[in-house]
């Protein structure tokens, strides 16, 4: 059934932004995780997660039912879900958590799912791939370090954690069991070090990228203002690249820089890479395989440093 050496198998939920804007995230995740003993099996027939801000702010019933449908697809595969996006994590992890603990809600959602002959049972868990990488139970930092063939030595890399994976801290099990704190986490920096790069801290690291909660769609100038502040703080620390674990944050930092240039006239040219892309590079994947040429902001300066 499983790939020789694959200790863990997950239903791989891709979401929307990764496959459409940053396809490298998909290929890098599948290939890099395989080297680490984790097989990601595509979750066929999945829909949008749905986006927590866009749907969650408007119609909760649709929000729950859509997320539940994605969960049921994985339940049918008898596999836990792994995903690559904080927004997807918020929707799918949180709906799973709520449905498991609230019978009334579960009954109501199953009423809707009946129309498509589905039933949510609550038999699986949901993980972010970053969480799988960090948690020794699945992979762990040491194994990540051992898998590196092209260490990113000399690169100064800052981390953007994003909001939805770590907050609200009260429900997040990963928080409590593995990393214990949300206000100034350092576990992503540990992963960055494992790739041979130098993690760099910067002011207000935990601030939002600016896009989340529907702000990007509703008030782009406001959203970019927040992003701009983060970029200023990053520039102060002279970082070579920013890494994230959420394609939506990545979009905001990457395309956002072009928009910021248009709207505010500020230029940063800061390469922005999903951690899966960084991991792929460190494991020897080529920039073309990773689709880095599809980024809004050129990764050239960074690649020159690490390749």
């Amino acid at each position: 059934m499983s790939e020789p050496g694959a200790k863990h198998k997950f239903a791989f939920y891709l979401g929307c932004i990764a496959p459409n804007r940053y396809p490298g995230v998909e290929s890098a995740s599948i290939k890099a995780m395989k080297k680490l003993g984790v097989e990601l099996v595509p979750l066929k027939g999945a829909s949008c997660c749905p986006a927590p801000g866009a749907f969650g702010s408007i119609d909760m019933n649709v929000f729950y039912a859509m997320a539940a449908r994605n969960l049921v697809l994985a339940e049918e595969m008898k596999m836990d879900i792994a995903l690559v996006c904080n927004g997807c994590y918020k929707s799918i992890w949180e709906v799973n958590h709520k449905l498991k603990h609230n019978k009334d809600l579960r009954d109501a959602v199953n009423e809707v799912l009946k129309e498509v002959d589905m039933e949510y049972k609550g038999t699986i868990n949901v993980y972010h791939t970053a969480e799988l990488l960090y948690n020794d139970k699945f992979i762990g930092v040491d194994k990540v370090r051992d898998s590196v063939t092209n260490p990113l030595t000399g690169a100064r890399i800052a981390v953007h954690y994003g909001c939805h994976l770590v907050k609200p801290h009260k429900d997040r099990e990963f928080e409590k069991e593995v990393m214990l704190n949300t206000e100034h986490p350092m576990w992503m920096e540990e992963l960055v070090s494992a790739l041979g790069a130098t993690p760099v801290e910067y002011r207000n690291k935990m601030q939002c990228c600016g896009a989340g909660g529907g702000v990007r769609g509703y008030d782009i100038v406001h959203a970019l203002d927040i992003t701009n502040e983060k970029l200023i703080n990053l520039q102060e620390e002279k970082v070579d690249a920013l890494t994230d674990i959420c394609p939506f944050c990545q979009l905001q930092f990457d395309r956002g820089q072009i928009e910021i240039q248009e709207k505010f006239g500020a230029t940063y040219n800061l390469p922005v890479l999903h951690f899966a892309e960084l991991l792929g590079l460190a494991q020897g994947m080529s920039p073309q395989d990773l689709g880095l040429d599809l980024h809004g902001i050129s990764c050239e300066s960074f690649l020159r440093k690490v390749l």
Binding site: H169, K170, N181, H184, R203, E236, E237
Partner: protein, 718 residues
């Protein structure tokens, strides 16, 4: 002779056992010559009561509407009349009142009752009350049994009238089953050692020790640190009067050092505790200090030797470490004192960092010869009648609240660090400076409730109670000492509840301190200037705040001091979920604990400012002196008894007993178990275990418990 009172059919009398050497002599209660009931060899249906037909009186309490409001008491009353063995049933608004108790007394006489059941609150609250009433009526007080129909019934089933009524009937029936089999028991008295122990010599422990000593009681004061005074000795001034902390504390420290009734053990801890109220055997561990006191020197034949506090050693010691008393902001040597005013003025070697170079030995010289680099821990055994725990507090490690950047940002400090920085004898001579550059700050933010009143799971849920007030004090000190510097207090609400505290709050407002109501969400550091941005929401003006300041002071939450948990376990004291030591009753017995003879003083029980700490210490000292002055204490007669005929001498129980109350002895050529009654707490571990059923638990006998179970399961029909 151990005989059952009024018993005519005792099959075999058991000789009164000799007391084992370890236990204190157990005195018989002089008024009652008969000892506690002894079981017959076949204890089934044993007991003096069974000889006469049981006549149980049931008294049902309304507790105002506490009970009566949630169940049909008349139905319970009518039902009680039908329970076998019940001779009389009554009810009253408040059974614990004088008329309520009068009903019990009268009914015992009028109806010739043999046992009493009161269906009311809990034994913890009113067992003593009703035992007294039972005794006043002429019955042995242990003929009383309580049915809890309030805390475990009406209060939990407030909205289930039918269910709670049924449950109350069950409770009464079960209690009657036991009451019918209750036996006369007679408490024993043990003499109380005329000495006390106080653990922890902060202001609480010092005050308690001084009071006990003044009452003529020999007091052992045990302090873990090298000198006494606790946290208060680290403070600069004290609210609301602003008197200098050292000035009011030092005289007390000197008194403690001088008092002939106080035997002070610093750099020491409690190592083991055995025994019970009146007779605690405590082992004190004196940690290797490396320096002899003049007394210790004399004991070694070095007359005129020992440490005189000259500091010659300090001058030559090459090892430098941070001084914890100065919150690590000043260096000390491997041989050190906390500060110049220490009591006792004896140096200590920190053997974890000492390199044993011997320079100090030479510097100390051949006259004093105070330094012994080979000194080892010593153990001292003392006997005390009562003990007070006063182990105080430490700061919650506020770096765990990562959003405020303590230990990450140089200019974020704690309130205790502020105390040392503003104190004339502190590391900067009383100049408040920014740790990053030594500059005087112009704008200081105080973050109140830092880690307190925090339900996120990473802080403490409780209010630390003195941080509002000391932050006001700090604001005042800044305004007074640094012209042009403004303190900004970020608060949730200001808790200035004590005497003259609210007035102090107004005074600080008038002096120009600024108050912003909002919890600080985040603190950011400007990496160049090392200034800090305090981010919050001003909830009065309803707008976000991003304030740049030079220095941030976190009013960190407090938590029990590190060694509290180990120490409390030695004394058998419980703690609440957050680790503070648990009092016997939060309102009516705030200084006592559930372990008889052990009391609490000061912050170890929960955050208290100095006035409350001293008041609690005086309360604890007074409570701890009562048994000592009385000279003897009564022990509950719930001890285990061995039925020698049934005992196979296997000795399994001896190892099980958590109180070391059991031993195997030779008796009439056989090995049997013997109980040291004064040590037995009646926990029943042995009784439940004994494979031969040879252990009889007074007041919780097998027949009594079986009768209760039957009454519950079989509804009274046996």
């Amino acid at each position: 002779m151990a005989e059952k009172k009024k018993t005519t059919t005792t099959k075999k009398t058991v000789t009164k056992k000799p007391i084992t050497k370890k236990a204190a002599p157990v005195k018989q209660d002089i008024k009652k010559q008969a000892p506690a009931a002894k079981p017959a060899a076949k204890p089934a249906a044993t007991g003096s009561t069974t000889q006469q037909k049981p006549r149980v009186g049931v008294f049902i309490c309304h507790c105002g509407t506490n009970i009566a409001g949630s169940m049909d008491l008349m139905a319970v009353q009518e039902y009680s009349k039908t329970i076998p063995g019940v001779a009389h049933v009554d009810n009253y608004q408040y059974m614990c009142s004088t008329p309520g108790q009068g009903k019990i007394e009268k009914a015992i006489k009028d109806h010739k009752l043999t046992g009493i059941v009161v269906a009311a609150c809990t034994p913890r609250l009113h067992e003593p009350t009703f035992r007294t009433a039972t005794k006043e009526g002429g019955l042995n007080p242990f003929r009383f049994e309580m049915a809890n129909i309030r805390d475990q019934n009406s209060w939990v089933h407030m909205h289930d009238q039918v269910g709670s009524t049924e449950k109350a009937k069950d409770a009464v029936r079960i209690a009657v089953a036991k009451a019918a089999l209750l036996q006369d028991l007679y408490p024993k008295s043990v003499p109380v050692e005329k000495a006390a122990m106080v653990v922890g010599a902060g202001v609480a422990g010092m005050q308690a020790a001084l009071d006990l000593a003044a009452a003529g009681i020999k007091t052992y004061l045990i302090e873990a640190d090298t000198s006494i005074g606790g946290r208060m000795s680290q403070l600069d001034k004290t609210f609301p009067t602003l008197d200098c902390s050292q000035c009011i504390l030092t005289p007390k420290m000197v008194d403690v050092g001088r008092d002939t009734n106080i035997e002070l053990y610093t750099y020491s801890e409690v190592n083991a505790v055995e025994g019970y109220i009146g007779n605690f055997d405590v082992t004190i561990r004196k940690k290797a200090r490396g320096v002899l006191t003049p007394k210790e020197a004399e004991a070694r034949g070095l007359v005129g030797g020992g440490c005189n506090g000259c500091g010659d050693c300090d001058a030559v010691c090459p090892v430098v470490k941070p001084n914890a008393f100065e919150m690590g902001m000043k260096p000390r040597k491997a041989i050190y004192i906390n500060h110049p005013q220490v009591v006792p003025l004896i140096y200590t070697i920190d053997f974890d960092s000492c390199i044993k170079c011997g320079l100090c030995v030479t510097a100390c010289g051949p006259e004093k010869r105070a330094i012994d680099l080979e000194s080892k821990d010593e153990f001292v055994k003392v006997k005390v009648g009562t003990a007070i725990l006063a182990t105080g507090y430490e700061l919650f490690p506020i770096e765990k609240k990562e959003e405020w950047g303590y230990k990450r940002f140089e200019n974020v400090i704690t309130g205790l660090e502020f105390e040392r920085l503003i104190c004339a004898s502190g590391p900067t001579g009383g100049h408040l400076v920014r740790p990053s550059d030594g500059q005087t700050p112009k704008k200081v933010a105080f973050v109140l409730c830092a880690g307190s009143r925090d339900n996120t799971g990473s802080g403490k849920p409780y209010c630390s109670r003195f941080c509002c007030m000391y932050s006001l004090k700090h604001a005042h000190q800044i305004i007074e000492k640094i012209p042009g510097c403004t303190p900004y207090l970020f608060y949730m609400d200001i808790r200035s509840f004590g005497k003259m505290y609210e007035e102090f709050y107004y005074r600080i407002q008038d002096e120009g301190a600024k108050f912003i109501r909002g919890r600080v969400a985040n603190i950011l550091e400007d990496s160049k200037s090392k200034n800090l941005h305090v981010m919050t929401d001003d909830t009065l003006l309803d707008r976000p705040v991003d304030m740049e300041v030079d220095l941030v002071v976190l009013a960190s939450a407090v938590q029990p001091s590190a060694d509290t948990n180990r120490t409390r376990k030695l004394f058998g004291v419980s703690c609440s979920m957050d680790g503070w030591l648990l009092e016997a009753h939060p309102k009516l017995n705030p200084c006592g604990t559930t372990t008889a003879g052990v009391f609490l003083a000061g912050v170890c029980q929960g955050p208290k400012d100095i006035p409350d700490t001293v008041a609690s210490a005086e309360g604890a000292a007074s409570a701890a002196s009562i048994p000592i002055h009385k000279g003897e204490v009564e022990l509950e007669p719930y001890f285990a008894t061995c039925i020698d005929e049934k005992c196979a001498g296997c000795g399994m129980c001896v190892n099980l007993c958590p109180y070391s109350a059991l031993a195997l002895v030779e008796k009439d050529g056989r090995t049997v178990m013997e109980v040291t009654e004064a040590k037995c707490k009646g926990c029943g571990t042995c009784g439940g275990f004994c494979p031969g059923g040879a252990i009889w638990m007074n007041h919780f006998t097998t027949p009594q418990i079986v009768a209760q179970i039957d009454a519950f399961l079989l509804g009274g029909e046996q």
